[in-house]
Amino acid sequence: MADAPAIPLADPAETLRRAQQGKGYWRRVWKRLRQDKVTLAMAAVLVFLLIMVIFAPWFTTHDPYDGSVLRRLKPVGYPGYWLGTDEVGRDLWSRMVYGGRLSLLAGVMPVFFALLIGGFLGVLAGYAGGLINSAIMRLTDVLYAFPSILLAIAITGILGSGLQNTILALSAAFIPPIIRISESVSAQACHLDFVEAARASGSGTLMIMRYHILNNVLGPILVYATSLISIGIILAAGLSFLGLGVTPPNAEWGLMLNNLRQALWVDPVIAALPGVMIFITSMCFNLLSDGLRQAMDVRL
């Protein structure tokens, strides 16, 4: 440009200092997360759990399916089986670790699918408004009328038990709440000034959604989704407990809880152990999602 107006710029040292204080939104969120001790601890626990569960053969010595009537319900600290054995003599420790695989899968995958489907539908409904919005939201209301556990039970009752059907049922239970929150956040974002400014540059819906809506709604939706994971784990365990989820002889925490009920009078510690795992994992995800929500609540 020939003669740019000669306006003195802000003090360069000062602007540089501001630049070094962290750039984009997600980088600032990451910075805040790093400073939150509780969340870091929870994340560490979950990472540890994940590693153990994925590399289960390295962490266990016995076959989780290998039972023996002689070894039934041995207590904690039994030589060779440090957490004891279950009601058919299988090593409880290996069953817990291998069971973690299925429990985590059954808890996390539904949220993932619900996020994909529900997130898309919700953001579309929020931005489009009018008839599309009404159609999607009223359909959601119908599904929302069912308590999620009953909905999941009904679906697995019809389709039968097993890991796949569990994931399907829980996805269906989680899609309505994610649609709700995506629509709500997206509808709010539409009225912001910068979206109006984007419309004023002649932009069509798709470009606006891609550049302006999506990056502003992802945050809250993500937080909500991570909080759903903790519920997912409990629901999956609950379904297995009722016999509608993972089938025996597979290891899964909810199933183990059910099977070990009979051990309650013999050795209550053993009977409670799978429940402890469910509790720990669910709590970790819950606190992680809380920490994420707090980190994202950046005062700009």
């Binding site: 440009m1 003669d3 740019a4 107006p5 306006i7 710029l9 802000a10 360069p12 602007t15 540089l16 501001r18 630049a19 204080q21 750039k23 984009g24 939104y25 912001l192 000034d193 910068f194 109006e196 400014a197 984007a198 419309r199 004023a200 540059s201 002649g202 932009s203 069509g204 470009m207 550049y211 302006h212 990056n215 502003n216 700009l300």
Partner: protein
């Protein structure tokens, strides 16, 4: 645009006096929810029969207090809000009709800078991308759009190396408003609407941004519509000024003449209500009492009559028309129209 193009355009314009923007009886009423069924539903008459012209290369200032409709007018011009009735003609083409200018094409010619510098920028995008968004929408390549954004950052006085990848929260109010101006210029518009663009800035920063706007206007050969509640700023920036009250235009004309010799009672009151800057000549009495009334169900006839010292019965019955006077000034007041029936009007 090369220098040759600019000269050619100026020569063409000098010989063609048609206005760049012509607005004819713009009307927008917002219905309110509520009101008793089958009775008159309350309606906000935000803009009612507003007509004016903007000539190429000038700055038209629009002043008025809250509820006068100036912001709604801006949004109607930009087609961000649908008109109820009226016509907008840009450079001879009517907007929104079949063989005229489409909304998308209108936005290539006319752009707007909003008041809230922070809310107008996507907090998740680096500012260069916010600027480049317009060109991207209209088919520019990613690199082409980015180059344009860098050029514009330079033009508004921000070093592209330092500022291109910043986020809005890292910038001051004045810097953000420069980004908004750069964004408005990205599509090479001919007319820029500035809706209270400097109102939220500190006075010292406001002066900087006003200087920038003046420079950009001559550099890019722009036409401005400058909306503000600050009478001093409007006087500085504008060639002609339009005074609005409760959805109607009450006076329109060259800015110096109107400020020196206002004709409409409201304009007179508005100008005398400005603080004087002279401690020895302080106001002893307010020129108008009460607040600007609500645009819901405004007074019949002349809308200013409830606060006007000269209101008479004709003012209640007949709404005044914006009469173009011989000296290029228009006023909407019965007192100045011969034979209107007002006691102060000339007798025909």
């Amino acid at each position: 645009m090369t220098a040759l193009d600019l000269t050619a355009m100026r020569v063409a314009r000098a010989s063609n006096p048609a206005p760049l923007l012509r607005v004819d009886r713009l009307t927008k009423h917002f219905p309110l929810r509520g009101g008793i069924l089958n009775r008159a539903k309350p309606v906000v008459q935000a803009v009612d029969g507003v007509s004016f012209e903007v000539r190429a290369g000038e700055t038209l200032g629009i002043v008025g207090e809250s509820g006068c409709g100036k912001s709604t007018t801006a949004r109607l011009l930009m087609h961000l809000v649908r008109l109820d009735s009226g016509k907008i003609v840009f450079d001879g083409d009517e907007v929104g009709v079949a063989h005229g200018l489409s909304r998308r094409d209108l936005h290539r010619q006319m752009q707007m800078v909003f008041q809230d510098s922070y809310a107008s920028l996507n907090p998740r995008l680096p500012v260069a991308l916010s600027i480049a968004f317009g060109p991207l929408v209209h088919g520019a390549t990613k690199s082409g759009a980015r180059v344009r954004a860098m050029d514009l950052l330079q033009a508004v006085g921000l070093d592209p190396m330092q500022f291109a990848n910043r986020y809005p929260h890292e910038l001051s109010g004045g810097q953000r408003q420069r980004i908004n101006i750069a964004r408005a210029l990205a599509l090479e518009p001919r007319l820029v609407i500035l809706d209270e663009a400097v109102s939220a800035l500190d006075k010292s920063i406001e002066a900087q941004v006003l200087n920038l706007l003046v420079d950009l206007k001559s550099q890019f050969d722009l036409t401005y519509v400058f909306i503000s509640h600050d009478l001093n700023v409007v006087r500085f920036m504008s060639d002609r000024v339009m005074v609005m009250y409760l959805g109607k235009v009450v006076e329109l004309g060259p800015v110096d003449r109107i400020y020196r010799d206002p004709r409409h009672p409201y304009t007179k009151a508005l100008l005398s209500a400005m603080p004087s800057m002279d401690p020895r000549r302080r106001a002893t009495e307010a020129p108008l009492s009460g607040d600007p009334p609500n645009p819901i169900n405004p007074p019949s006839g002349c809308r200013f009559r409830t606060r006007c010292a000269f209101a008479e019965s004709v003012c209640e019955r007949v709404p005044p028309v914006l009469e173009l006077g011989a000296d290029g000034r228009s006023v909407a007041c019965h007192m100045l129209v011969a034979g209107s029936g007002h006691s102060r009007a000339a007798v025909v």
